[in-house]
Amino acid sequence: MSSPKREYRLGQAFEGVLDAAKQGAEWAWASLYRDLAGPVTGYLAARGAREPEDLAAETFLQVARNVHSFEGDEAAFRSWVFVIAHRRLIDLRRSQARRPTTVSMPDDGPGVLGGDVEHEAIGHLVTAELRDAFRRLTDDQRDVLSLRIIANLTLEETANVVGKRVGAVKAIQRRALIALRNHVDLEGVSR
């Protein structure tokens, strides 16, 4: 892709789109959803949601319920959306934890990078090695890496979403990368 990482899609149009969204204009919501459905769904899928698209849609409807109280720019909006998505994910984890399968990522359960059959298939295409390496990370590490990479959030935004201090997130991502590097090397992902 040609656009730099932190250049948002809506750019200067965002203010107008947000305004229209608050007024209930469908085109504005379509625009926001087109922009964010990918990262949100990807984040939820990578973090083990069984039906990430449904959860992403629920996230957006939650956004719609609260959008009247949101003030801020596009970066803040994205960050806010992921705060909501992350909360949904936490709720989901809690409910899944009540089931017989273990807390985060059962080895023979839904794929580490995917929550359901469909995404599991993608997970296989992505490579079993990466899934395996990812699986070995802690929940915190997976959260942070996913938010940094899939959601493309900044360090500060990520800290905001997971409710930790910036320094803590920095340490988590460093440890995550080291762990990933060890496994990637051992498992031969980069071969």
Binding site: G24, G38, L155
Partner: protein, 317 residues
């Protein structure tokens, strides 16, 4: 590239700087070679965020979200109960969508990798992904994807970039060895159609051109999804015809006079129909295609709510 493969099992504790980590996490190449070895993996991870939702789900969700937002604004009988009856309906993926999703993810994964890794390490990984993409049977995923992106760009008032995307898609199709004689013609027709964009944009006009291009892109997208590949020639002709009509349209009613654009829009609608494939295409979108010339409210259903009659993005910023 060095791999400490001779000390397997040991933790790698290389000294890495925060700024190098930032480079890696934000998609650039890190300086540290150990971090560099993670680029392919992180690119795969990054591809999870590149998925684009199918238009049908975008429309469905936009409709629900918009009505929720409206319910807040218009508390009917003193309560806001109306916002609660909107229940999220289940969207289960059809196998076809799953395949498309996989292809999109893979496509973006490859792109990200190709850009990020710069040929350093991931050649083999790329090859595997490439094969997987082929096996997924979405040979035209690239074109389709670009056009979908172009459509989004137009929706955001960035029609020039959209044109660039379409052009690129056609170029890629050409590189892939498809018969693109008609696609090339279509491209130049599109270029002609949007050549007036700068002046329109500087005049801060109401975005009629954008909407026309948007309609064109929707047409392309919907038809690419239907019959890619084999029917490329006929498809190209249809696109070219549609683009010409848009160009004519802009010649006549470029300053968005409702009266003039209405008639030319009708012409274009007929043109669509004459081309044998267009009668339902624009109509099956979210209304932009057919509505863009009428009163400027191409978007959303005409339910009478004032906010819904606002024209596309053009009026807001």
């Amino acid at each position: 590239m060095r791999f400490p493969s001779d000390n397997k099992g040991e933790m790698i504790r290389w000294s890495i700087t925060d700024s190098d980590i930032e480079r890696l996490l934000s998609g650039s190449d890190p300086e540290d070679s150990e971090l560099m070895a993670l680029v392919p993996s992180l690119s795969m991870l990054r591809s999870y965020g590149a998925w684009l939702p199918p238009e049908s789900s975008v429309e469905g969700l936009a409709s629900e979200a918009a009505s929720i937002a409206r319910a807040w604004l218009e508390p009917s009988d003193g309560t806001r109960g109306s916002q609660f009856f909107v229940e999220r309906r289940r969207t289960t993926l059809t196998p076809r969508l799953v395949g498309a999703l996989a292809a999109l993810l893979l496509f973006f994964g490859m792109t990200g990798m190709a850009v990020a890794a710069d040929g350093a390490a991931p050649g083999d990984a790329l090859y595997g992904l490439d094969r997987a993409l082929e096996n997924a049977g979405i040979g035209a995923g690239r074109v389709e994807e670009r056009i979908e992106e172009a459509n989004q760009l137009v929706a955001q008032g960035r029609a020039q970039e959209a044109l660039g995307h379409v052009t690129e898609a056609f170029d890629e199709a050409q590189e892939d060895g498809e018969d693109v004689s008609d696609l090339a013609e279509a491209r130049s027709a599109i270029e002609a159609a949007v050549s007036r964009l700068p002046e329109v944009e500087t005049e801060a006009a109401t975005g009629n051109v954008d909407e026309d291009v948007e309609a064109l892109l929707r047409y392309i997208r919907e038809n690419v999804q239907k019959d890619v590949g084999e029917d490329g020639r006929e498809f190209g002709q249809r696109v070219a015809a549609l683009a010409r009509l848009i160009a004519v349209n802009e010649e006549g009613g470029q300053t968005t006079d409702d009266a003039t654009t209405t008639s030319t829009t009708d012409d274009r609608g007929n043109g669509n129909g004459n081309n044998g494939n267009g009668s339902g295409n624009n109509g099956t979108g979210n209304g932009n295609g057919n509505g863009n010339g009428n009163n400027g409210n191409g978007n959303g259903p005409p339910d009478g709510s004032p906010s819904e009659t606002a024209p596309g993005r053009g009026d807001k910023p």
